[in-house]
């Protein structure tokens, strides 16, 4: 018996060591324990404070339990052991009622203080405002300062606060970018706010990762977030580019793509600078070619992925377009249907979309 308990202890210690060793490792891009900005750092600091208090209590309580088990366990031949019949001890009871209460009161102070800090909306001239709308199963971003929309891949500047004003068009979603802040729900009919503040730009080709955290139906797992943090110049340059209208191609496969696009895609997808594509029910494709990710930021925006998506979107991502109801108020959109496009049509649309950089 004792050997078994000891082996259990060893196993527990090994697991705990591995767990601690795994904290904050670099190859975990969605790690809440690896903050990349002051808000996430405040939360992280509070977490570790509470963690260590909890760890001490854990050790004390488990030690008391194990000591009691080892010290007082029945042994062969001590059936006659004399046992005092204690019914309780009021002093002890009072002590272990008050001590945890005091400890919790101590934890409550920084909890409430940090809570009001992270919930405060940022003020000042340098705040970047972005409107976020959650959709099944993608993100829509509007930059009102610059007058453009984009989708799935969020771009923000480093070193200044970004205020996300968020709502949802269908069901409840939750914006979770663990390295910059905790999560915040997007509730239809309500507006919520979340502040992002990033210390530094992300290296070339790298993104901060996150994803929708409130179960939102079939493709909840594939409603992901990629956030590019620029330095200020880079952000301004990116935003200026995004604010340009799309260029309608006039020759080559891209022009053929535009003819198909007008027939098939404009029922849902808007493209700035065109008359034909003004229905805003699906991701804005104005600068689709400039994006690194698509389809709920789940897939790299490569030619292969895009072609596969256009051949049959359901191959890449589970959706329920058979339940789409564009005539309803509000319209119900549960994914992109398979339009049965042939190889040439797909190639033409790929050329079109990639031309919109």
């Amino acid at each position: 018996m004792a050997a078994r308990v000891r082996s259990r202890l060893v196993l527990g210690a090994v697991l705990a060591t591995i767990a601690l060793a795994a904290c904050g490792t670099e190859e975990v891009p969605q790690n809440s324990l690896d903050p990349a900005g002051p808000i996430a750092r405040d939360i992280d600091g509070l977490w570790w404070l509470v963690f260590w208090i909890a760890a001490v209590i854990f050790v004390l309580v488990q030690a008391a339990l194990l000591v009691s088990i080892f010290r007082f366990r029945a042994r062969k031949g001590d059936e006659g052991r004399r046992i005092r019949q204690l019914h309780g001890n009021t002093k002890l009871e009072v002590a272990w009622t008050i001590a945890p209460a005091v400890l919790l009161a101590v934890i409550a102070v920084p909890t409430v203080a940090t809570l009001f800090d992270i919930r405060a909306e940022p003020t000042g001239d340098d705040v970047l405002e972005i409107n976020v709308v959650g959709h099944q199963w993608w993100w829509e971003y509007e930059y009102p300062e610059f007058g453009f929309f984009t989708a799935n891949e969020l771009h923000i500047p480093a070193g200044r606060p970004v205020n996300l004003t968020m709502t949802s068009d269908d069901v409840i979603h939750s914006f979770w970018l663990p390295r910059l802040n905790g999560k915040r729900d997007l509730v239809p009919g309500r507006v919520s706010n979340l502040t992002l503040f990033a210390d530094e730009p992300t290296p070339d080709g790298e993104f901060l990762w996150g994803q929708c955290a409130e179960f939102c139906g079939l493709a909840h797992a594939d409603m992901r977030l990629k956030v590019k943090v620029h330095d200020e110049d880079g952000f301004q340059a990116w935003a200026a580019g995004q604010a340009q209208p799309a260029v309608i191609p006039t020759d080559g496969p891209a022009a053929e793509g535009w003819e198909i696009f007008k027939l098939v895609c404009t029922a849902c997808h808007p493209v700035a600078g065109t008359e034909e594509a003004q229905v805003r029910l699906a991701p804005d494709l104005t600068h689709y070619g400039s994006r690194s990710w698509f389809a709920g930021a789940t897939f790299r925006n490569t030619t292969e992925h895009l072609a596969a998506w256009l051949r049959n979107p359901g191959d890449l991502k589970p959706m329920a377009p058979e339940l789409n109801d564009l005539a309803a108020d509000p319209p119900r959109i549960l994914g992109m249907p398979n339009f049965g496009l042939g190889g040439a049509e797909v190639d033409a649309l790929v050329a079109l979309l990639q031309s919109w950089e």
């Binding site: 339990l65 009691s68 046992i83 019914h87």
Partner: protein, 645 residues
């Protein structure tokens, strides 16, 4: 072990106690308890298989074993099953079987209502599971957040969920009322409230919790069902509805429900620790009152499930502090349990191992629960695998381990035979190791950013290792459960004969035979103290140490006619009434044609209820002769109270 009498054979069941019909018509609380326990065990295996499929899908990144659709159905049904069809009925099984025995009573206050509760539960479970073959099972999560749960009325899936939960709610309301009446009116003479076993106290608390919390989810479920089927706009945001209403209604039920799941296990552990420590429960009144405090405070913490929903920092701070406060009475219980073992003589039998592991694992779940009250930290943990880890430490490490302790402890009383200790200890260690392998890594997964309810994850997120470990752990648990099932089935025929009091226990159920006769006690005990049965066997010496009596003592209230103890007759009306409810349930799922079916179901229901109320309560001549020499017993039986005070 102090064996009161030499018992070499388990009684054969009384005549009329065999066959399916006898189970359908039984109103004996013990047989109803056994029905609950077997049903819960069956659903535990089903819910466990669902969990294994989920774990297989997550074993590797971008797993392809399940489609997103199948995955969503499975996690919805896994949660719904484990909460409503496993932990609640397991606890209900124990309460049913034990409550009258612990109180020195001969049955619950309303035996036929008790049968009705079971059959409604059974019908609700069948209804929920039949969805798998009738268009797909519910897929909107066990919490069914609107407006996702109202979004696709074309599919009947979430209608199954709403009707299923409504049906199960009827069962819980009926049994709660029954248990409260039993505890308040059926105690043996001398069994004052503060002499009741802690398990009985916890039953009283959860019964009130259910009685007050189920109405809120009932309202919510009706709203969801009406939105989906009759065009109401409770959760139609385009018409100005606020979906947070559902969250408030759901969690105002859902959080007290958490305590409904854990308090029975706490009660069981509070019975087992003193027996195997040979000491009374340390701080009985503190354990009882902290349980009551948890019950009251449990109604004031629901919004900690909504810290990311946008209630505003003032409300969030309030619920953070109330959530922290509930840790205080929980801590009191843990300290008192450790105090109970301290200075005793601890026999590490299988039920005791489970009870001790319950404390150790529940401490982890309790501490991670406190971290949820740290709102800023909770905005990272919420809806991540950290939460999955937390509530499995509470509901598996807590509730299920506590219930396993109860099964190993009371199986001898229920069957007359011991479960194998050797298999039991193997199962214990395998289950405990498997449990920690499965759920400890989930803390890391959650903090590393893995959200719940996601059917796949990319390989470069750093989630691979811990998911693989958790899946392996899941199969280790499955091995443990397999050993348990083998043990339960094998021991029914081949287990060691238990005798009346195999554990040298403290409470009244051990004062009667194993299994007890239908009328529980030949003579009703007259109770002089807490743990009355213990004091019939032991006394204190001059220095306050335990001393065995030379001869067991104890008062019994003599029966006027010990040959003829009146028990309520079997009745098929409770099952018929429940069947009517089930038919109504299926009918409303398929409108408009289904309304005809629902109308037929309503007629069956009324037939059952009418027959039930008109049915005479006297027993048929078998197995005991009808007897009219005792009109006062007749009168008592007519009000379904055979208690003789």
């Amino acid at each position: 072990m102090a064996t009161v009498a030499e018992v070499t054979e388990v009684h054969a069941p009384a005549p009329g106690h065999k066959g399916l019909w006898s189970w359908i018509t039984t109103v004996d609380h013990k047989r109803i308890g056994i029905l609950y326990l077997w049903s819960a065990l069956l659903f535990f295996i089903v819910g466990g298989i669902e969990a294994l499929l989920i774990r297989l899908q997550l074993f590797t990144p971008n797993g392809e074993i399940l489609s997103a659709d199948a995955y969503n159905q499975l996690f919805t049904m896994h949660g719904t099953t484990m909460v409503f069809l496993v932990v609640m009925p397991l606890a209900s099984g124990f309460v049913n079987y034990l409550l009258p025995l612990l109180l020195g009573a001969r049955d619950v206050a309303f035996p036929r209502l008790n049968a009705f509760s079971y059959w409604v539960f059974f019908v609700g479970g069948v209804l929920l599971y039949s969805s798998f073959i009738l268009g797909g099972s519910p897929d909107g999560g066990w919490f069914g957040y609107a407006p996702l749960s109202t979004q696709v009325p074309e599919y009947v899936r979430m209608d199954f969920w709403a009707v299923g939960l409504l049906t199960l709610g009827v069962a819980s309301i009926a049994s709660s009322a029954n248990f409260i009446a039993t505890i308040l009116t059926m105690r043996a003479p001398g069994m004052t409230l503060m002499r009741m076993p802690v398990f009985v106290w916890m039953t009283l608390v959860i019964s009130f919790l259910l009685l007050f919390s189920l109405p809120t989810i009932t309202v919510g479920l009706f709203q969801v069902f009406f939105d989906r089927n009759f065009g109401t706009l409770f959760y139609e945001t385009a018409a100005g509805a606020d979906p947070l209403l559902w969250q408030h209604l759901f969690w105002l039920f859902g959080h007290p429900e958490v305590y409904v799941l854990i308090l029975p296990a706490m009660g069981i552990v509070s019975e087992i620790l003193p027996v195997f420590s040979r000491k009374p429960l340390f701080g009985y009144s503190f354990v009882v009152f902290s349980g009551i405090a948890i019950g009251f405070m449990g109604f004031g913490v629901w919004s900690h499930h909504m810290f990311t929903s946008g209630m505003g920092p003032v409300a969030e701070a309030g619920f953070a502090i109330s959530t922290m406060m509930i840790a205080v009475p929980t801590g009191i219980k843990i300290f008192n349990w450790i105090g109970t073992t301290w200075g005793g003589r601890i026999r590490l039998t299988t039920p005791m191992l489970y009870a001790l592991a319950f404390i150790a694992m529940f401490v982890i779940g309790g501490l991670s629960g406190v971290t949820h009250s740290i709102v800023p930290a909770d905005t990272q943990q919420h809806d991540s695998y950290y939460v999955v880890a937390h509530f499995h430490y509470v509901l598996f490490g807590g509730a299920i381990l506590g219930l396993f302790a109860g099964i190993y402890y009371w199986y001898p009383k229920m069957s007359g035979r011991m479960l194998s200790e050797r298999l039991g200890k193997w199962q214990f260690w395998i289950t405990l190791i498997g449990f920690n392998l499965t759920f400890l890594p989930m803390h890391m997964l959650g903090l590393n950013g893995m959200p719940r309810r996601t059917y796949r994850y990319d390989e470069n997120l750093g989630f691979d290792l811990w998911n693989a470990v958790a899946t392996i752990g899941g199969f280790v648990i499955a091995l443990g459960v397999l050993l348990f099932v083998i043990n339960v089935i094998w021991s029914r025929r081949h287990g060691e004969i238990a005798g009346d009091d195999p554990w040298d226990a403290r409470t009244l159920e051990w004062a009667t035979s194993s299994p007890p006769p239908e009328h529980n006690f030949d003579q009703v005990p007259l109770v002089h103290s807490r743990d009355d049965f213990w004091h019939r066997k032991y006394t204190l010496d001059a220095e306050g140490f335990l001393q065995q009596r030379d001869e067991p003592v104890g008062d019994w209230i003599p029966e006027a006619d010990p040959e003829h103890i009146h028990m309520p007759s079997p009745s098929y009306y409770p099952a018929l009434t429940a069947l009517g409810m089930g038919i109504v349930g299926y009918g409303v799922l398929y409108q408009p044609a289904g309304f005809i079916v629902a109308a037929i179901g309503a007629l069956v229901l009324m037939w059952g209820a009418f027959g039930w109320s008109m049915e005479p309560v006297t027993r048929t001549p078998e197995p005991m002769a009808h007897d009219d020499r005792h009109p006062e017993l007749e009168a008592a039986a007519a009000t379904e109270e055979v208690e003789s005070e």
